[in-house]
């Protein structure tokens, strides 16, 4: 049984078919990259998996359970971490520390565990000095790091990342790729970044004409 399976998924937005009869699956712990032209539907695909965009037809199965109603997606989202393309669309808490603590607190983790997770990811991402800094005062790169860290504190089993390395300098790029390699959950990363594709060297899918097809690594150099 696949960890995440998508069967015959069709999504229409404003009368246009964005995803068409799409089939796809990810196994537990599998890490993949999705590439595609601008407007190919990569973000729509991720948002459909989370239930933010309604599918016209098709089926999404997460851990063997079909996601149909909002309640099913709500339960699934507890185990799915989503990093937005634009960190400003994602971060809303007053400080870095509160941002990292939001999801585990909402999901009812024990307070001691929340503290442990917050400390762990503040340290891992080198954000300790910024813990009390207001989010709106962070630089673009810092916001990007916080946007990834705050999703990892949720302890997701599936991580969805939309262009996770945009705006990162070389050092932070290295940090993020090392962390993405080391996390033990399944990861779907949507990206245009050829450097990221080469560095991660994961299985690649190309989203084209509404469908996902396995692609060769040489794609990243084109």
């Amino acid at each position: 049984m696949a960890f995440l399976a998508v069967r015959n998924l069709t999504v229409k937005r404003e009368g246009r078919t964005v995803l068409s009869e799409l089939n796809f699956k990810v196994d537990r712990g599998e890490k993949i990259l999705i590439v595609g032209e601008n407007g190919a539907g990569k973000t729509t695909f991720l948002e459909t998996l989370l239930g933010f965009v309604k599918a016209a037809t098709g089926e999404i199965l997460f851990k063997g359970k079909a996601l149909k109603e909002e309640e099913d997606f709500r339960e699934a989202r507890k185990k799915i971490g989503y990093v937005f393309q634009n960190p400003d669309d994602q971060l809303f808490s007053p400080t870095v520390e509160e941002e990292l603590a939001f999801a585990p607190l909402v999901l009812g983790f024990e307070r001691e565990k929340v503290k442990r997770l917050v400390e762990k990811y503040l340290k891992l991402f080198g954000l300790e000095k910024l813990r009390n800094k207001p989010i709106f005062k962070l630089s673009g790169g810092e916001k990007r790091l916080v946007s990834i860290a705050c999703v990892l504190t949720q302890e997701p089993e599936l991580l969805l990342l939309d262009e996770p390395t945009t705006g990162l300098d070389r050092e932070n790029f290295k940090k993020v790729t090392e962390i993405l390699r080391s996390v033990d959950c399944s990861v779907i990363t949507v990206t245009h970044d050829t450097k990221l594709i080469e560095t991660l060297n994961w299985k690649i899918y190309k989203l084209e004409k509404g469908r996902l097809r396995p692609a060769a690594h040489s794609l990243s150099r084109k």
Binding site: E47, R77, F102, A103
Partner: protein
């Protein structure tokens, strides 16, 4: 203002924000309602003492006090000739309220202030509205500055003509649309991380001995003032 004073460290800034709110309400109401000099003066020691504590922050406090007093002087001038006593009374009353606000509320971050209000029983929805308004005012301002810069970079120069009005209309429309889209995305982000109507808080307040001492002292002074001049 809040950002500047909340970074300073002194006996007042370290107080529990819940205590600050209680003392602020206890003192600001009688100060605002006082109609006699003795009523006003019996509540002045606390704001006066706290302004001494903030003395070293005068560079940050003056930019607030000066414009406020300029306005007060202008307003008081209307009654100064007929009743100079009343003009002075109004100026002192207003300054006591400003000092009380600065020393108690402006010495905490906005988040601490709202968090304290939550513990004092203010409805959660109202607090979330206040918090998100504050949180996104900066983002809106940033966005407006960026779009304005973008317009200027392409030759836009504000003048008194239709083109300028039209450009500003475009900028504001753009800002509204972007704000709407952003609010939708933020809501998605919150839902993606489990939001169901409550914003939890990671750091909670702990009442310390100095908080209890300050609260006790302030309440004693307050009871004394009410007993002597109000009852």
């Amino acid at each position: 203002m809040e950002a500047v004073l909340s970074k300073s460290k002194n006996i007042l800034s370290d107080l529990d924000p819940r205590v600050k709110w209680i003392v602020f309400i206890l003192y600001s109401v009688p100060i605002a309602l006082s109609i006699e000099w003795n009523q006003l003066l019996c509540f002045s020691p606390l704001p006066a003492a706290s302004s001494i504590i903030w003395m070293k922050e005068w560079k940050n406090v003056l930019p607030v006090l000066l414009p406020a007093n300029g306005f007060l002087a202008f307003v008081s001038a209307t009654v100064a000739f007929s009743d100079p006593d009343l003009a002075l009374f109004l100026i002192l009353k207003s300054n006591l309220l400003i000092l009380l606000t600065l020393s108690l509320l402006a010495s905490s971050s906005i988040f601490e202030i709202l968090h304290a209000l939550h513990h004092l029983g203010l409805p959660n929805k109202l607090l979330q509205l206040l918090f998100f308004s504050y949180r996104y005012i900066h983002t809106l301002k940033e966005q407006l500055d960026i779009t304005l810069k973008s317009a200027k970079a392409r030759g836009f120069s504000p003048a008194t003509n239709m083109k300028t009005y039209k450009t500003y209309a475009y900028l504001l429309t753009n800002l509204l649309v972007r704000s709407y889209i952003r609010s939708e995305n933020i809501f998605k982000a919150m839902k993606a991380r489990g939001y169901r109507g409550e914003v939890p808080v990671f750091r909670h307040f702990k009442m310390k001995t100095e908080d209890r001492l300050f609260l006790g002292f302030a309440i004693m002074l307050w009871i004394g003032g009410i007993w002597l001049f109000w009852l």
